[in-house]
Subunit: 159 residues, 2 copies
Amino acid sequence: MDRTEGRTRQGLDLGLKKALDLRGLQKTPGFMLRLAQLKFFEGFYESFAELGITPASYAILTIIRDNPGVPPSTLASLLRLKLPNLIKILNEYESSGLIKRNRSKSDRRGVELLLTPKGTKLIQEATRMTDPYNKRMLAALSVVEQATLLELLNRIVPL
Amino acid sequence: MDRTEGRTRQGLDLGLKKALDLRGLQKTPGFMLRLAQLKFFEGFYESFAELGITPASYAILTIIRDNPGVPPSTLASLLRLKLPNLIKILNEYESSGLIKRNRSKSDRRGVELLLTPKGTKLIQEATRMTDPYNKRMLAALSVVEQATLLELLNRIVPL
DNA sequence: TATTGTTATACTCTATAACTATA
DNA sequence: TATAGTTATAGAGTATAACAATA
């Protein structure tokens, strides 16, 4: 691990770390978005580990809470999940007692998703941790800049 | 498919789409980042399909081009890939004749990655398509706003 | 002994096809 | 026939363990 020498014959000294040209990636929005998203996901698992909740869980429970009765198909398209993959998650959540499925009365093919009291409590506790979590992830930005970022993202992918 | 009725007994009319409350997600930076990143990935596959290049390919070839001799371990940590997973990709690229592996002379455990002429040509062609691609992805933003977004992202995940 | 690269393997996430029950 | 939900399954992406060669 000692690096007393570090000769640089060709103008390259990768052994000493750094001296890397990363400007190409820094100017690539898609790559930087991916890095930022990975940071948020890793940070999420740290901050919410005790609740056993994932980013997907958080989004799913939030949507159902704010839109009781939402059907799985709508939920899937909102979250950009394929319906079969969402169904598997919903099965787990129903087994865990977080959500409930109701058959729609108007169209009995349809399903209405609802939170159970347990699910309501869970997303309530999670919501309490979101502010400190987001603040930690965005610590490098001023409050105004944080709002700017959110606004720009909402313009890029309108909901 | 006809929706002449649409009765709204409980103030909910999800059958008619919309009327959904999505403010919770719109205020969630991590979720919006994920949506934006998915948009960029999908758009990438559309724009670069003819070159048979993926977002990962693009990043890998770019880094090697700008930093000839970069070792796999450095590349992996930059791209947030586990080394074994990167190795598989590098094996494919070497089979395809896009990159070359040199044993390092100073430390013969090490590998120096280089682009072949074929790899150089490929990333060259890809680079020509990046501006229109990025412009299309960020069409909702002014040029100034595009620069702002990039700057904020670089502050959140410094390279 | 520690490190770089590599292989093999398991696990998670995502995508596709087909089946059911209603309409 | 078409649609919402569901199941089963295949594929891509990601993670962990162990080994070889070199330091």
